[in-house]
Structure formats: structure tokens, C-alpha cells
Amino acid sequence: MPPKDVEAGEHKTSIAVWDLVSPLVIGRTAKMKVGARCAAGCQLTDHAVEIHGAAGKTIARTGLGGTPWPGTSGLYWADIEFPAPAEAGTHTFSVTSEHGGAHSEFSFIVVRPPDHSLTIQVHDKTTKETIADVEVRLGVYRSITDARGLATVDVPKDSYALTVWKLGYELFSTEINVTGTTTIEVEIAVEPEPAQPYWM
């Protein structure tokens, strides 16, 4: 219930959407979190939020939970699932909240189901040691290497632009043709110190 002395127009509500793992895969269920916050400070427990597809059709609905998202002042939230679209490409869906009439859009990419797993192992070019926390991108797929320097992405058979980067290292990029499940080794070089330090 809204606090007393709140005018109807002050229930302006806004929405956040997060933890949607991109890209989505055709035929699979997508999961994410959705939250809503009322400017008047209303408790939004059990208030409905809906996901609408491109044509405005409601494809998922849930009630908000009982406690605000940690660290927020009043963002009531819930996990929500919806079926990924049947067509590959970029899609824009919307989220609405019955409280305050809030509306927000979010976009995502949908891809074909994967055929293979590609594991990338990243080493330091000089020391040959594996490197953790390296950002790996393969087209629209992205991952981070674990403590063993490994990152795995599941992808359809295709050609991809592979980029590998970590702060302090030079960007590594190459084209790669994925035809089967495999592991590839990548070496990245420490970025050299600037020859001319900035001074003041």
C-alpha cells in the first residue's frame, strides 16, 4: 500500500532488467531479473510485472518479491522466465509494471543452437603461465577465463572474430573457423610501458 498523503501522480515507477545472459538460444528459456521502484516508496510485493514481445503480446508475468534488491532503496524484484524468440537476430521486448504504469524496453540477441564447444586457453606470451580474468569474445559470444586460464563458449558451426584482452596486455585478435569441439591456445603479450612517461 502507498504511504498516506501521496498523490496519485507521485507513484511514478521505473524498471530495471538485469542478469539476462546474452545471446539467447532459439527454443530455450531465457531467465533474468526484473525490478520496479515506486517514487512514492510503495511496497510493491506481489505487484505484477509483465514481459511483452515485439507485437505487444504478453509472454511472461510474475509478482514482485517481498524484499528490495540488496543495496537499493526500494527496488522490488523477481526472477522471470520467457521463451526465446524463434528467429535469430536482435529483438526488443518491453517490461511493464501494473503499479505506476511503468514501461521499459530491453534488447537482446538470439542465436541458433550451438553445435560445438570452443575452449580458449590463454597464456602469457613471455612466461607461458595461464592468465585468469581475461576477456574473451567470439562474435556475439563472450566469456572470462577462470583461474586455469580457460574460457568456454558454445557456438554454432561458423567463422568468428576472436578477440582476447586483459588490462595490461595487448589486444589479441584473429579469425577462427569453428568446425568441431576443440581447445585452442592463445598467447597474449604484456603491453609495453610507454617509452616516454608523462610528467608534470
Binding site: 538485469w18 521499459s104 612517461p197 608534470m200
Partner: protein
């Protein structure tokens, strides 16, 4: 100040580390066309500066400036190592404000000057240079204000303008670049440079490039190991947080934010950026490999507007640091140095130390008026 003093030409410390250098080499390095800043320098000033490099370095040592006894580094496109760093003057905070190496340059020079009976007037603001006639004749002295009183100080030999660059003068800097409105603050003086200074735009507010805000989310805070709480952030108009992007837009209130950020616009901007992350390509600005969405609450906005650094222009001077008027004539008794003087677009201490020493020497050798 960082206390980094790249002076060369064959200084004693260069020789100690086997560095072969000369005034001619300093001149060649600082007239190299590859450095675009040097293309527009007054070659006579560069030549004088090069000739005075080594002597100025020794002058600093003679006045008790101490340098870290470490091999010099290459700097500023030079062909030989010239960069030495002054030792921090003192670790005692009662003596040194922040312990930066710049104190190792300024404090010994101050101590040496006081030992030579130089009187330093604090809380005095120079407001006018007094000439024999309003726009002609030699310089007689200056007017200054101190605690609401005006004092006139007669110059025995001359007046040296060493008041620093003009980046803080919004009206003046906008003569050179009208985009440099007041929201572009000055390095090291962030909190001191907030006042509106004249009619600079619509409603007296900024009309230049406008404030720039860094927008990020909770994931970024975790990823970068930030602690977005005071005193790390300034909640008095320079840092905001909110549960949603739309709410964040509404919270951004700052003297230089001339109009509120529309919630829908910020949502669209963040959504577009998140789309670049999904696609792996920033089709708007070409940011390489955008990896992280801005999506997880809480959301933050941090003042991220560029600041102005140093001034590479100033009063026209000759090789004696005498100020030249609009008719290309010397103004007798008036000298300028450091960032107050133009003609040599070089950043930092090598410019200010050499020209300061030369200005002082030339003024001291002038006939008393």
C-alpha cells in the same frame, strides 16, 4: 607539482650517469617538428631556454633542491635521458602539505629566498600594474589588495609576472576557445573552481560542451573494486546513485547541468550501449570490444567532465623575459615567466624554472628606477 624536472644540456647529474648532452641537442629536441606543440614556439626563446637548461639545474642544486639519485629517464620526445625527480622535501606533514615531490622543489627555493631576505606577502592579490602613463612608459610597481585594503608597491628594479596560467579565467580562456565554459574546471582546484564567473551562457549557466557523466552499475563497482561512498565520492552534486536508470537521470542535479537529463533519453542511451555489448561492436563511437552491460542495480553517475591542465600561451616576451607590447616594443621594467609567458609551448617545470630564473636575473641586473 610532481617535482619532475627534465632539464638537460649536460647537467652534473646527467654527467654522473654518463649521459652526453648539450645545449644544441636540447634545442634540436625541442624544435623537432614531430612534436606539434613545438612547431609554433618562438625559436629565439627555445634557443635561450636550451642554453640556460644546465645552468638552471645547477642553480636549483645550489639552492638546496635535492634530486633522487637515480638514472634519468627519457622524456618529452628527447634524444637523451633528462628526467630527474626532486626528493620530497619532508615527510613531516607540518612542513609539507601533501608529500609530493613538488615540495622538494618549492620548499627549498622558498627557504633559500627567505634566507636572502626575500619578503613573501601572503594574502595579497595583485590587481594592477602601474605604469608611468596608463598605457605607456615604464612600470613603476603594482597595486594589490589585502584584507579589503589597497596597497601600492613600488618596484625598485622591475615587476615580474609569475602568476601562473590563465586556465582559471573563464572569460579570458573563452577568447581562445569559446567551448571552455565554466564547467571545465582546473586541475588540482576542483572544489575551488565552482563559482559562476560572469555571464557565460544562457541563465548564467554553462553553454559549452556541457557536463559529462560516467554512468555505471553495481557490477562495475565489484569488477573494479570501487567503494562508491564518501570520502571517495562527493555526494554534493558530483556523484549520484539510484535503483534504476530512469531514477538516476532524475537525481542528477548540478550547477552546470543546465537542463535535467530526460529519463527516457538516458534509458535509451544505456540500452543502446548494452546492445553494443551484445553485438560486440560499438557502432557509434568505435569503442573496442565493449564487454560489460550497464544493467545491474544500483546505478551510478559520476562527474567525469574533463579538466583544463596548463597554459601554453601567455604574454609575449623576449629572451630577457621582458614583456613586449602590441607595438612590439619592450615595456620597461615588466617581465613575465612561467605559464604567464607565451612563446614556448612546453609543459611543466623545465619551462617555469628556466624562465623564472632568467626573469629574476634580468630584473635584478636592471638599473634601479
Amino acid at each position: 607539482m610532481g617535482g619532475e624536472v627534465p632539464l638537460g644540456g649536460g647537467t652534473s647529474l646527467q654527467k654522473k650517469y654518463g649521459v652526453v648532452d648539450s645545449a644544441d641537442q636540447v634545442y634540436l629536441d625541442h624544435t623537432n617538428h614531430k612534436n606539434s606543440d613545438f612547431r609554433y614556439c618562438d625559436r629565439d626563446l627555445v634557443r635561450m631556454w636550451a642554453d640556460e637548461n644546465a645552468a638552471t639545474f645547477e642553480f636549483l642544486i645550489e639552492n638546496d633542491v635535492k634530486f633522487n639519485d637515480e638514472k634519468p629517464e627519457m622524456v618529452n620526445g628527447g634524444s637523451v635521458p633528462r628526467l630527474f625527480v626532486a626528493k620530497v622535501y619532508s615527510d613531516d606533514l607540518a612542513e609539507t602539505i601533501n608529500g609530493r615531490p613538488g615540495s622538494g622543489l618549492v620548499r627549498p627555493l622558498e627557504k633559500s629566498a627567505r634566507a636572502k631576505s626575500v619578503e613573501i606577502l601572503l594574502k595579497h592579490k595583485m590587481t594592477r600594474v602601474i605604469r608611468e602613463n596608463p598605457t605607456s612608459g615604464g612600470v613603476l610597481g603594482i597595486s594589490a589588495t589585502s584584507e579589503s585594503k589597497t596597497v601600492n608597491i613600488r618596484a625598485r628594479k622591475g615587476v615580474i609576472i609569475a602568476t601562473g596560467g590563465h586556465t582559471s579565467n573563464v572569460a579570458f580562456r573563452r577568447m581562445f576557445d569559446p567551448r571552455l565554459t565554466e564547467e571545465y574546471q582546473v586541475v588540482a582546484f576542483l572544489s575551488a573552481r565552482l563559482g559562476t564567473n560572469g555571464d557565460l551562457g544562457r541563465d548564467g549557466k554553462a553553454n559549452g560542451g556541457g557536463p559529462i557523466w560516467a554512468i555505471f552499475d553495481f557490477d562495475a563497482v565489484v569488477r573494479e573494486k570501487w567503494d562508491p561512498k564518501p570520502p571517495n565520492v562527493d555526494l554534493n552534486g558530483w556523484f549520484f546513485s539510484a535503483d534504476t536508470i530512469a531514477d538516476l537521470a532524475g537525481k542528477i542535479k548540478n550547477p552546470y547541468q543546465r537542463r535535467p537529463i530526460p529519463a527516457g533519453v538516458l534509458e535509451q542511451t544505456v540500452s543502446k550501449y548494452n546492445g553494443f555489448v551484445d553485438a560486440g561492436k560499438d557502432s557509434e563511437f568505435g569503442k573496442p570490444g565493449p564487454m560489460y552491460k550497464i544493467q545491474k542495480p544500483s546505478f551510478y553517475a559520476a562527474w567525469s567532465t574533463p579538466i583544463l591542465h596548463d597554459t601554453l600561451t601567455g604574454l609575449k616576451i623576449n629572451t630577457k623575459c621582458q614583456v613586449i607590447d602590441r607595438n612590439n616594443q619592450v615595456i620597461p621594467g615588466l617581465y613575465a615567466c612561467g605559464e604567464s609567458a607565451g612563446g614556448f609551448a612546453l609543459h611543466g617545470l623545465p619551462r617555469v624554472t628556466v624562465f623564472g630564473r632568467v626573469a629574476g636575473r634580468e630584473a635584478a641586473s636592471a638599473n634601479a628606477s
